[in-house]
């Protein structure tokens, strides 16, 4: 199953997973954000009793329903891929991945079969308050569902709360709370859900702008812009703050990834932040690998040090610090980590030999060693380095990291500006006069989708070569299948997801054109 793994298989398997994840993520963030917008709109309806608020809530609920229905279960395919294409990885992560995913599955089932049904079927059948509670529970439940998936993903970025069992060759959870409160999970969750809030707000503001451009449903459009604009502005400010928190966490737990965001090769004090820049293909050389260097850059002096540690004069390590080590700063070199990883692997081999030779006591002692904190922290933590030959192989694609990071951040700041301007024009009563701005808002609907996908590309490509940070490189996690078979399923998914996306866009466009239901009076 794992013999003769070739690069093309690894790349096709990665491509297949990336395609599934990217398409799945086209549906999820709108659900996360729009559910809260609906809950806020319905709250205003219940508090004011104004039927116009009910009408507009129902309209956005319809679009929420289309997105939810078409996106539901698309994430299940990722779980199939774990079992088929990533079987070594799936086995190695053991119950750590299984537990949060199971909680998510159960939560999603109960959420979908009860409260979403009340949301759609319950108008005029249950009390106003019960309906409102159901809508809020859908919003909270959908976001809590995302929490469990992100906890599982965060574990891959920063493995915590587990012990490796050499007998089963699996990692076993020894602290649920360490897994749940993994610092990477907290930042990832907050940053991801706020990105969903921004995306949904832009979606609502963009479509409402279309109604204003068409001079249709003006009251509904303005009220929708008010709710989504305020929510979007707050969420986009939160997005910047949680992004900053996330960057600090990455700097601590995935420092090579962080240095690649800024294409920072040599660490320095008073490190500048590259606000914008252009990289040329080659210029830096680490080992046998040619890495990009700057053709042009705009820097903010000292700002990277401030963002990372809060101190302008703090030292920010660069990629070379992690390759060659920096004893002065307490940074271990690649070769030292590799040595430690090999010691951990040798312990696994010794365990196996002891079991094969029937040396029970020796095997028990070796198994015990894997549970000791000293061995875990000093050796097993670097287990994956045993599989990496060259130091330069621990560096992700710097160009991808640099451009995705900077584009995502720029878009994030653009959203703050856009929501602020649209609200200012709304409060000034001149929004309809600035038709070009309405067009800008309408055409901006895809931008948060782009930013959100860039965030995932950055998170996942930035941590290469690891499938589990420092514990397992990607080529060890993959199953040896025929690359051709993976290609077939890649194209099948491409077809399936494109069909789903086309169906979603076509049904949504039709329903938007149709507009909300007629007034009940």
């Amino acid at each position: 199953m794992f013999e003769n793994i070739d690069l093309s298989l690894v790349n096709w398997s990665r491509g297949q997973f990336a395609l599934t994840a990217v398409y799945h993520w086209l549906f999820v963030p709108l659900t996360l954000g729009l559910s809260f917008i609906l809950a806020m709109m319905e709250t205003i309806y219940v508090r004011t009793g104004d039927p116009e608020w009910k009408r507009l809530t129902k309209f956005w609920m319809k679009l929420f329903g289309i997105n939810f229905a078409i996106g539901v279960a698309t994430g299940i395919i990722l779980e199939f891929e774990f079992g088929t294409n990533w079987s070594a990885y799936s086995w190695f992560v053991g119950d750590i991945f299984g537990t949060p995913l199971a909680i998510e599955g159960i939560m999603a089932f109960f959420l979908e079969s009860t409260f979403i049904a009340v949301m759609f079927f319950g108008w005029n059948k249950v009390s106003k308050r019960f309906h409102l509670v159901s809508t809020w529970l859908v919003a909270i439940g959908a976001n809590l569902s995302a929490l469990w998936i992100l906890v599982a993903n965060a574990w891959m970025q920063n493995p915590a709360g587990m012990v490796f069992n050499p007998e089963t060759a699996r990692n076993e959870m020894n602290s649920f709370w360490e897994v749940l409160f993994n610092p990477v999970a907290a930042d990832k969750f907050l940053h991801t859900i706020t990105s969903g809030f921004v995306l949904a707000s832009m979606f609502v503001v963009g479509i409402s702008s279309w109604f204003l451009l068409k001079k249709r449903e003006v009251l509904m459009a303005k009220r929708s812009i008010l709710v989504a604009g305020v929510f979007g502005l707050l969420a986009s400010v939160m997005l910047a703050l949680t992004g900053d928190m996330s960057a600090k966490t990455i700097a601590k737990y995935q420092p090579v990834k962080f240095s690649s965001f800024e294409a920072l090769y040599n660490g320095r004090e008073n490190a500048p932040l590259v606000a914008a820049g252009i990289l040329r293909k080659e210029g830096e050389k680490v080992g046998e690998r040619h890495l990009p260097s700057f053709v042009f850059r705009i820097e903010i002096p000292g700002f990277l040090s401030v963002l990372t540690t809060g101190d302008k004069n703090a030292y920010v390590p660069g990629i070379n610090d992690y390759i060659y080590g920096n004893p002065e700063r307490g940074i271990m070199s690649f070769s030292e980590k590799k040595e430690r990883g090999e010691t951990a692997r040798k312990a696994l081999l010794d365990y196996k030999t002891a079991v094969d030779n029937g040396e029970k006591e020796k095997a028990l002692d070796l198994a015990e060693q894997f549970t000791s904190e000293g061995f875990r922290e000093n050796y097993f933590r670097y287990f994956g380095y045993a599989y990496i030959d060259k130091p330069e192989d621990i560096i992700p694609n710097v160009q991808v990291s640099f451009y995705t990071f900077h584009l995502m951040v720029m878009l994030g700041f653009l959203f703050i500006l856009q929501f602020a301007v649209v609200l200012w024009l709304l409060f000034a009563g001149s929004l309809e006069r600035y038709r070009w701005w309405l067009w800008v808002m309408l055409l901006s609907i895809p931008l948060p989708y782009l930013a959100s996908e860039l965030g995932w590309v950055l998170a996942e490509m930035g941590r290469q070569p690891w499938i589990i940070q420092d514990l397992m490189p990607v080529h060890i996690g993959v199953t040896s299948l025929k690359a051709g078979n993976v290609q077939v399923t890649f194209w099948l998914f491409a077809l399936l997801f494109t069909a789903l996306l086309a169906a979603e866009v076509s049904i949504m466009v039709k329903q938007v054109r149709k507009g909300p239901e007629k007034r009940e009076d």
Binding site: F2, G83, S90, E167, I507
Partner: protein, 77 residues
């Protein structure tokens, strides 16, 4: 008494869902058709034909699976 009230709740819940599906709008019916086709493709076609759980399929028990992965971890480069 308790059985009667449970039955009454069940009937109410059942009629809530039944009426909901009966009175579903045009777009609702359309998305339900998409959901059913999608679930068929995902769980029947993809799962059964293309995505077997290979470790489950190729080994009889967890001990064999563990041994196999351990060999893989020890011998891979």
């Amino acid at each position: 008494m308790a059985r009667n009230s449970a039955a009454a709740i069940f009937t109410r819940v059942f009629s809530f869902y039944r009426d909901g599906f009966r009175n579903m709008s045009d777009w609702g019916r359309k998305v339900w058709i998409i959901i059913i086709i999608k679930l068929f493709v995902i769980f029947v076609l993809l799962r059964l034909l293309f995505f077997p759980d290979l470790l489950k399929k190729n080994f009889e028990n967890d001990s064999e699976r563990g041994n196999y992965i351990r060999e893989h971890l020890i011998n891979s480069e």
